[in-house]
Symmetry: C2
Subunit: 283 residues, 2 copies
């Protein structure tokens, strides 16, 4: 595995491999790898001739008071894990190279899938995400790009951006990887103390409760949300942010569960904010 | 010359030529060709193995009440001219293909070169320009892109966007082409009646007057602007919009002409809005 910090060298390597006809896959990450990230790398490895993992803690997608400063950074550990997955290139640009002085261009999805959920709770977040992913796509020029469904709305924002801007890249969604007790893998799970970690199980449990009701025939989204919310609220350490059932494509809230829908939850546990989601299937 | 309306066919052709090692040049246009456009095509022909001209009257860069509806459209005449310049591909997508239902992603240069001048007079204009040029760059995947300096601020916006978003394209500025009496070539010149056409000469004459003063030693931008403005105001048919002297890179107004600066003018003549600009050189 080659570690590359500069765009010129990255382009040289990618150009060489494209010249040989290689399909180029990219896995954009912020580091702090867990099995979720590794599953993306593994899938890219299976499907692509050249696998590029980008590692960049993107400041523009963090809001004021969020965890940009304390976001876990461990390049050596991450590089070791990526190498063991057979990644070809770990691209880790410096912040000054990504956002040089005078930087002033932004890519934003507006009046669409970025509204509600994370978009409402984290103003400017998806503008930062769309901008940095657009930049990384231009740097790497990938044929395929792998994103986890844990950040479900992010995935839809990136799909929308790539389609709207005619980017010649296929966005590949990959399933959420969970701990044995159901907690969705997240780099932020390491912030949790043991009591908080225990309480964090309620995020997945509330999604399960929602699916249980739907499978039992409940079709009113409001009733499902009420029951799922009760699971969260039974945990004194958990402060729910949102719990919503939305159309899987448009992310517009749905009222009647007569088709597959996405349920998404965000909650704070101590100083940690976690999200999770799943597809609700009315059999 | 091949005329292409669909992105899939465009990508196929460009991919073939890139595979053979061709440098790909693009000339983005809205049609209604004059010698300015032809000079861009000619330069691209000299420098590139594959020359793509895009022809698309982009609705998102026109404001309410602007001339989108009456903007001159003549595909057959334009195609003939492009073919005579040795253009390889004329790409003319349909509006529904460029902006399909649900389109919601925008590229914008903010708090920089898009402010002032056209950006102030035409709110949203450069967002439309940046978005469509970003899309065209993704569709064509050019190595070089040719733009005229007549739209000087547009050129700076596109340079900024391409650099900020790490687009692997070289933006090539090309000099203004003028009529024998100095009027800058523009597709909108054809809107002018004979009296308006005569009055339109004052735009270039006011730029010449500015350069005359600077060459004579005047260093106060305000004094230069005053004299240049008097040239415009001597024409009863001309209603000045702005007349400014700015830094050629940042487009921030300058007060002291101790270095090269850009003078830019916009004015209405009848129902037609024209712009022009030139570099002021203190010897």
């Amino acid at each position: 595995m080659e570690r590359i910090a500069g765009v010129a060298r990255l382009r040289e390597r990618v150009g060489q491999e494209k010249g040989r006809g290689a399909v180029v896959g990219v896995v954009p990450t912020m580091g702090a790898y867990h099995r979720g990230h590794l599953s993306l790398m593994r899938r890219a490895r299976r499907e692509c001739g050249l696998v590029v993992v980008t590692l960049f803690v993107n400041p523009t997608q963090f809001g004021a008071g969020e965890d940009f400063e304390r976001y876990p950074r461990d390049l050596e550990a991450d590089a070791g894990m990526a190498e063991r997955e057979g990644v070809d290139i770990l691209f880790h640009p410096a912040a000054e190279a990504v956002y040089p002085p005078g930087f002033s261009t932004w890519v934003a999805v507006e009046q669409g899938v970025e509204q509600g959920l994370e978009g409402a709770s984290r103003p400017g977040h998806f503008r930062g995400v769309a901008t940095v992913v657009a930049k990384l796509f231009q740097m790497v020029q990938p044929d395929r790009a792998y994103f986890g469904e844990k950040d479900y709305q992010q995935l839809q924002v990136i799909r929308r951006m790539a389609a709207d801007l005619d980017m010649p890249v296929q966005v590949v969604p990959c399933p959420i990887i969970r701990e044995p007790d159901g907690l969705a893998m997240s780099s932020r799970n390491r912030y949790l103390n043991p009591a908080e970690r225990e309480a964090a199980r309620s995020l997945f449990r509330c999604l399960q409760e929602a699916q249980r009701l739907v499978s039992a025939g409940e079709r009113a989204a409001a009733a499902v949300i009420r029951a799922a919310r009760a699971v969260l609220e039974a945990e004194p350490l958990v402060r729910p942010d949102y719990l919503e059932i939305v159309d899987p494509e448009t992310l517009v809230p749905v009222e009647l569960l007569d088709r597959p829908a996405q349920i998404a939850v965000a909650a704070r546990i101590g100083s940690t904010r976690l999200i999770d989601n799943t597809r609700l299937l009315p059999d």
